[in-house]
Structures are given as structure tokens and as C-alpha cells.
């Protein structure tokens, strides 16, 4: 009875929901109309579709395969730095994709550390470009996510069962069959589906490491249709194929993935009775070290290269940084406002609407907006506002999933008192909701700001030399073979992405 949404809350949610539907459906309709003028998909389009599916499948399977021993080792071993390790697995979510790819290039690239080693052994050089490079980068990003999801599964097995297994002196094989296998059967399909869906929408990774007829994703093909051919009909056709695939995968993954990978409670220390010693212990240790190196070496390499590259940065880094900060702050503000409005009705319909962007990809939306704007103005002039809009829509589902539960909790805990005191509308927001939601608001704004700061997507469709963001500048430096300067820009971008996240998170007063 307490905490029913008032008419004002429903109105705010309705307005935000309507705006959201228009902003998502209008570009799709426009794309559909434009694609209708074009032709049917040809070999090139089917090739892109096949590559998209193949790389996503491989990335999902490899990420989970690598994550399995790592998550198991994390679940059953206690060592100093374990909490840090678990925290580290959350970092790739905020890491700008293009920055990480640059780090991977520094380790696995033509002049990277791995090839240096291979050269010493008289082998190589190993080339990172193509399918295996794309998959490698996707594993870098999604293996940690898979680890978190699996670790959550392991932590969810009641400690009493492991204790029981210990009193029965079950061998490791039996423990696996009786306790761990049933959990894995529930968790692994969800992890596979989530990573598959994420990799379908891959753009920046394919942009830098893929390309060519044999390594082009649908997202990348859209970009190429725009930039190389300016074939809007073909871009629309590809966008339509992409949105079909992504929407389907999103629905499947929402059905399969029960756990959110948020990793709450993963830092908890718990006695494990089954942790076998001997060679199994050594193997767990090896897995953890390898995974740790795989995740940290690229960043370390990037930082080392980047420090050297700072001096090579061109003067146009300043306006690019200004644009990025402006977009990032704007995205944080807009995303939080939209999330608040959609949380206000405290209803499933409004939260469901807020998840809709998960079924669309940035370049599909970008294509649609381009087609719409193209009727009246030159879309390049609106590059930054459109980037801001698309970034906001993409960050919304993550932000809403933090803010909506916080709103509901504040209402459940204190809504009755607020109603008794006649706190409605803005007064309720000011005295009850905003202060109670501070932590979620700061965290949500930080995520939106960091995702937006690091985004290299739509801006590539619209960007012009005089309107560039920091990630775009970085990509252009890379394209001009100014690798040192690109590393410098990547380092700046890395610092700014995490800096703005921690700033917002600190403002919210939540312990990071």
C-alpha cells in the first residue's frame, strides 16, 4: 500500500517512455523505408552476416572456456589480492574499446612484445589482424564478464553442501559432478548468450583489427557503406539485418541470463572445504597468473607507450578533449534524468521500455538518424548532438537497472512517512528520493559518463575534421600511422574515462 506511484510519477514515466519509443522507432522506420529502395542482400552482405555470427560464436565459446578455470580458481582459493582481482574483472566494462585494442596491439601487434619474443626464438611474426585478432580482443573484454557470471554461480552454491561433501570425503570429480556441474548447466548458457549478443554489435574492434572482405562485421559494413560508397540504401539494408540479429540475440540472452554479472558479494570470504591441494593447486595458480597477465599486460604496455607518446600529441587534442568532456557530462545528465523519469512510475512497463536500446546497436541508430537528418540538414553539422543522443540511449539500460531498484527501495523504506507528511512531487524528490538514491545516482552517472567518453561509434559516421572526439582523434592518428601519438591519446582517454567515473561515483558517496 505504501509507495504507489503518484500521477506525477506516471506522467513523467509516460512522457519519457513515449520519447524513448519515438527516438528508437523513428530511425528504424526510416531505415526500413530506405532499405526498401535498395536491393536484396548480396554476397557481400551475407559475408558480413556470416562473419558477424562466426566471430560472435567463437568469442563467446572461447571467453567462457577461459573463464571456467579462472572462476573456479577464484571461487576456491583464498589469496592476498583476491578482492583486487575480482574488482579488476569489472574494469573492462568501463574501458574504452579502442584504448584496449591499442593495448592489445602493443602486446600482440606486429611490433608488440609477443612478436619480439617469437623473433628471439626465430619464429613469427604473428599477425593480429583478421578473425583471430577480433576474437582475441573480444575474449579480452568478455572473459572477465564470463568470470564474474560464473563466479557468482559458484558463490551461489550453499557452503553447507561443500561442507557436506567434505565430511563425506568426496573426491574432486564427485564434487564437480554433484555440486558444480548442475550450477554450470544453469549459468553457462546465459553467459554464452550474453557474450554472443555483445559481440554481435562489435564495431570498434572490427574497425581496427578487422576489415577487408573476410573480416567485416555488419556494423563495420554499415560504416563502410557510408564512408567509402556513400550508399545509403546499402547501409540501411545492413542496418536492418543487424537490428534483426541483435534483437533476436538480446531476447534470447535476456531469457537465458538470470544473473546480472554485477558480482555483489563476490568479495566475501568463505571457507571452502573441497579445495584440493597438490597439482590442482598449482594449476589454479597458473590459470590465475595467466588470466591476470592477459588482462593487465595490454594496459601496462599501453601506459608505457602512451607516456612516450604524450609529447607527440597534436594541438587538436584540446578541442577533442573539450568535445568528449561535454558529450560525456551531457550523457551522464541526460541518462540519469531519463532513468529517473522511467523509474518514477515504479512499473514493469516503464522499466521494460528502458531496456529496449539493448536490442539496437549504435550504428543502426546512427544510420537512422543520419537518414532522417539528411532530409533537412547536413548531418555532419549535428555530429556531436547525435553522438550524445546515441550514447545516452546506449547507457540508459545500465543506468536504469541501478536507479530503478534504488527508487523502489527508498519508497519501500520511507514512502509511508513521506506520504504522511504530505511530501509529493518535487518535495518528495528533494527530501526523500534523491538523498536516498545518491549512491545509485553517482554510480549510474559515472557509468554513463565513462561509456560515453570512450565511445567510438556513431561519431565515425558523422564526424568531420573540425568535429572530433578524443576516441575519434585517437583512431585517426592510428590510421595515419602515428602510433606513438595514438598511444598518447589513448592514455589521456583512459585516464579521463576512469577519472570521470570515479569522480561521479565519489560524488554519490558510494565506496568504489
Amino acid at each position: 500500500m505504501a509507495g504507489r506511484a503518484g500521477p506525477l510519477g506516471r506522467a513523467a514515466g509516460g512522457a519519457a517512455g513515449l520519447a524513448l519509443v519515438v527516438l528508437l522507432v523513428a530511425p528504424l522506420v526510416m531505415t526500413f523505408l530506405k532499405a526498401g529502395e535498395g536491393r536484396l542482400p548480396g554476397p557481400a552482405e551475407y559475408g558480413a552476416l556470416r562473419f558477424t555470427l562466426v566471430q560472435a560464436t567463437l568469442s563467446a565459446i572461447l571467453s567462457v572456456l577461459v573463464a571456467l578455470p579462472v572462476a573456479r580458481a577464484l571461487a576456491r582459493r583464498r589469496f592476498p589480492g583476491r578482492r583486487l582481482f575480482v574488482t579488476l574483472t569489472g574494469a573492462p566494462f568501463l574501458l574504452p574499446v579502442a584504448v584496449a585494442v591499442l593495448g592489445l596491439l602493443a602486446v600482440f601487434g606486429a611490433r608488440g612484445w609477443v612478436n619480439d619474443l617469437l623473433g628471439l626464438a626465430g619464429l613469427g611474426p604473428w599477425r593480429i589482424y583478421g578473425l583471430h585478432g577480433v576474437v582475441l580482443a573480444h575474449v579480452f573484454f568478455n572473459m572477465p564478464l564470463a568470470t564474474r557470471m560464473l563466479l557468482q554461480g559458484w558463490s551461489a552454491i550453499p557452503a553447507e553442501r561443500f561442507r557436506l561433501a567434505a565430511t563425506l570425503d568426496l573426491p574432486p570429480g564427485q564434487v564437480f559432478r554433484l555440486l558444480e556441474w548442475p550450477m554450470l548447466r544453469q549459468v553457462v548458457p546465459g553467459a554464452l548468450a550474453a557474450i554472443f549478443a555483445i559481440c554481435l554489435g562489435s564495431f570498434s574492434v572490427a574497425l581496427i583489427l578487422g576489415g577487408g572482405p573476410r573480416a567485416t562485421t555488419l556494423e563495420l559494413a554499415i560504416y563502410q557503406a557510408f564512408l567509402f560508397d556513400f550508399d545509403l540504401g546499402r547501409a540501411a539494408l545492413l542496418a536492418l539485418m543487424q537490428s534483426g540479429v541483435v534483437a533476436l540475440a538480446a531476447v534470447i540472452s535476456l531469457r537465458l541470463a538470470r544473473m546480472d554479472g554485477s558480482g555483489s558479494g563476490l568479495g566475501r570470504e568463505r571457507q571452502r572445504w573441497d579445495a584440493p591441494g597438490g597439482w590442482r593447486r598449482a594449476l589454479d595458480c597458473v590459470w590465475l597468473v595467466l588470466a591476470g597477465l592477459f588482462l593487465t599486460l595490454p594496459l601496462l604496455a599501453l601506459v608505457l607507450d602512451g607516456i612516450g607518446g604524450l609529447a607527440d600529441l597534436p594541438a587538436r587534442i584540446w578541442p577533442a578533449m573539450g568535445n568528449s568532456v561535454a558529450i560525456s557530462l551531457g550523457c551522464a545528465a541526460l541518462t540519469v534524468c531519463l532513468s529517473l523519469a522511467l523509474s518514477a512510475p515504479m512499473a514493469r512497463w516503464s522499466e521494460g521500455l528502458g531496456l529496449m536500446p539493448l536490442a539496437l546497436s549504435p550504428l543502426v541508430l546512427g544510420t537512422g538518424y543520419f537518414l532522417i537528418l539528411n532530409i533537412w540538414v547536413s548531418p555532419a553539422r549535428l555530429a556531436l548532438p547525435v553522438t550524445l543522443l546515441v550514447n545516452t540511449l546506449m547507457a540508459l539500460p545500465f543506468c536504469l537497472r541501478l536507479i530503478a531498484p534504488a527508487w523502489a527501495r527508498a519508497e519501500a523504506d520511507h514512502g509511508r512517512l513521506a506520504s504522511q507528511l504530505g511530501l509529493t512531487g518535487p518535495a518528495r524528490l528533494r527530501w526523500l528520493l534523491l538523498p536516498r538514491m545518491r549512491g545509485a545516482l553517482g554510480f549510474g552517472a559515472g557509468i554513463a559518463a565513462a561509456l560515453s567518453m570512450g565511445d567510438l561509434g556513431v561519431i565515425t559516421l558523422f564526424g568531420s575534421p573540425e568535429r572530433e572526439t578524443l576516441p575519434l582523434l585517437m583512431y585517426r592518428l592510428l590510421g595515419a600511422y602515428r602510433t606513438d601519438a595514438a598511444s598518447g591519446a589513448a592514455l589521456v582517454l583512459l585516464a579521463m574515462s576512469f577519472g570521470i567515473f570515479f569522480l561521479f561515483d565519489r560524488l554519490g558517496g558510494r565506496d568504489a
Partner: protein, 236 residues
């Protein structure tokens, strides 16, 4: 006068009927077994539960359709009577103005209320920095500035020890005498009822009985009340 006429409250399978009226200025204890619907009755009067049938009238005016904050009611719940993120002054001040903007005179009223309950100088603390008894006092200070003619207490002092609870009830009795408010309080303790109430409404077996004089009822309980009180409660 507070009139409950042919009132029927339902929540799932639960059903409570009430047909009674309470005179203004009276002090009424609601007594009855747990789950009998005492809190439900208060929730309906406060506007948190719409009646299934019947009417609730205050001074002849129908209360249905009025939001909780618009009713002539101040209410203290079992817990959560203060916002933990706001200081005591602000908590009390919200009883005067939900918008939170106070005139100088209104600030004075808040200070006075805090002084009246023995908390002068505590305005800048947060509820977490106060003891349980002090928190209850702060909530009562807010009730004081809310200045509503109907005061509903849903066992707000249940978590306090016996001595503190008696102290709080004495304070409530004083405040009530000063403001002339009509008091409705839920209680499990016949002693509490003796301390503060002049009338008793027995809530049992799906029905809230009309008020009866406190002493007469407690000294010679009808069967339903006797069943609830057991051997300890009846008589002194």
C-alpha cells in the same frame, strides 16, 4: 467527532468491520490479538488503505479521496518515523512545510518543539546519532509542529524498554493535554492503555467494537478480551 460508519476493510482474505464513533479530544487504545487488524484500521484512517465499503468522516467531512498528507492526521509508525539522511531539525521542519522553506517564526516553532521534548541543541544531529528514546522524542517533536487534530500511534515505542516506554507515553499524554488532539493508539499492553487511554476499542474476530470506558472494560473484560488478556491482564 471521528465516525466510522459501516466501514469494511479488506486485504486479501482479511476482513475487518467497524461501525463506531469517537468524540473529539478522547484518548482511545486499540487492543486485540496480533493480526486482528488494529494497524489496518489506523492505516485506513491515515489514508494508506482505501475502504472497501463504508465511510470515514472527521467533523462531518468525508476523508475518502484525501491523500495521507492532506488528512487532519499525524501518525507515528512502528519504525521509520524519521528520515535517516536528514538531520533532526529538518525532520521536524518537514512537519510544518513539505516544501522545506521556513520563515523565521517557523524556525522558532521547530526549536520550541525540540526544546519541549527535551532535545534542544540536537537539531544538527542525524537520527543515527541518537538513542532510541531520543529518536522517539524527535518524532514527537514533529507531531507537535504538525499540529493535527488526530494523532495515530501504531506502537511507535514497541522497541523501547518498559521504563522508556512509560516515559514516552507520559510525554504523549502531556502533549495531548496541551494540544487537545484526539488520540488513537495501538497497544498490546493493558498497562499502557491504563496509563493513557480513557476509552478502549477492542479489535478481535474481524470486528472493531464501539468504544467502552477503559477502567470498566479492563476490570471486567468481555469474553473476547478476556481470551486475549489471559489471566495476567484481567484485574490488577
Amino acid at each position: 467527532m471521528l465516525e466510522l460508519s459501516s466501514l469494511v476493510l479488506t486485504q486479501g482474505d482479511f476482513r475487518l468491520e467497524a461501525h463506531l464513533s469517537l468524540s473529539e479530544g478522547s484518548s482511545v487504545a486499540l487492543i486485540g490479538p496480533s493480526g486482528a487488524g488494529k494497524s489496518t484500521l489506523l492505516a485506513a484512517i491515515a489514508g494508506f488503505l482505501p475502504p472497501t465499503e463504508g465511510r470515514i468522516r472527521w467533523r462531518g467531512q468525508e476523508l475518502a479521496g484525501l491523500a495521507p498528507g492532506k488528512r487532519p492526521v499525524a501518525m507515528l509508525f512502528q519504525d521509520g518515523n524519521l528520515f535517516p539522511h536528514l538531520d533532526i531539525f529538518r525532520n521536524v521542519a518537514l512537519g510544518i512545510s513539505p516544501r522545506g522553506r521556513l520563515s523565521g517564526a517557523e524556525r522558532g516553532r521547530v526549536e520550541q518543539a525540540l526544546e519541549r521534548v527535551g532535545l534542544s541543541g540536537y537539531g544538527s544531529r542525524t537520527p543515527g546519532e541518537l538513542s532510541g528514546g531520543q529518536q522517539s522524542r524527535a518524532a514527537l517533536a514533529r507531531v507537535l509542529v504538525q499540529d493535527r487534530p488526530l494523532l495515530l500511534l501504531d506502537e511507535p515505542f514497541a522497541a523501547l524498554g518498559p521504563a522508556l516506554r512509560a516515559e514516552m507515553l507520559a510525554l504523549v499524554a502531556e502533549l495531548r493535554a496541551e494540544t487537545g488532539a484526539t488520540l488513537l493508539m495501538v497497544t498490546h499492553e493493558p498497562d499502557d492503555a491504563r496509563r493513557i487511554a480513557d476509552q478502549i476499542v477492542l479489535v478481535a474476530e474481524g470486528r472493531a467494537a464501539p468504544p467502552a470506558p477503559m477502567r470498566a472494560l479492563l476490570d471486567d473484560p468481555p469474553p473476547a478480551l478476556r481470551a486475549y488478556l489471559g489471566d495476567n491482564g484481567a484485574g490488577d
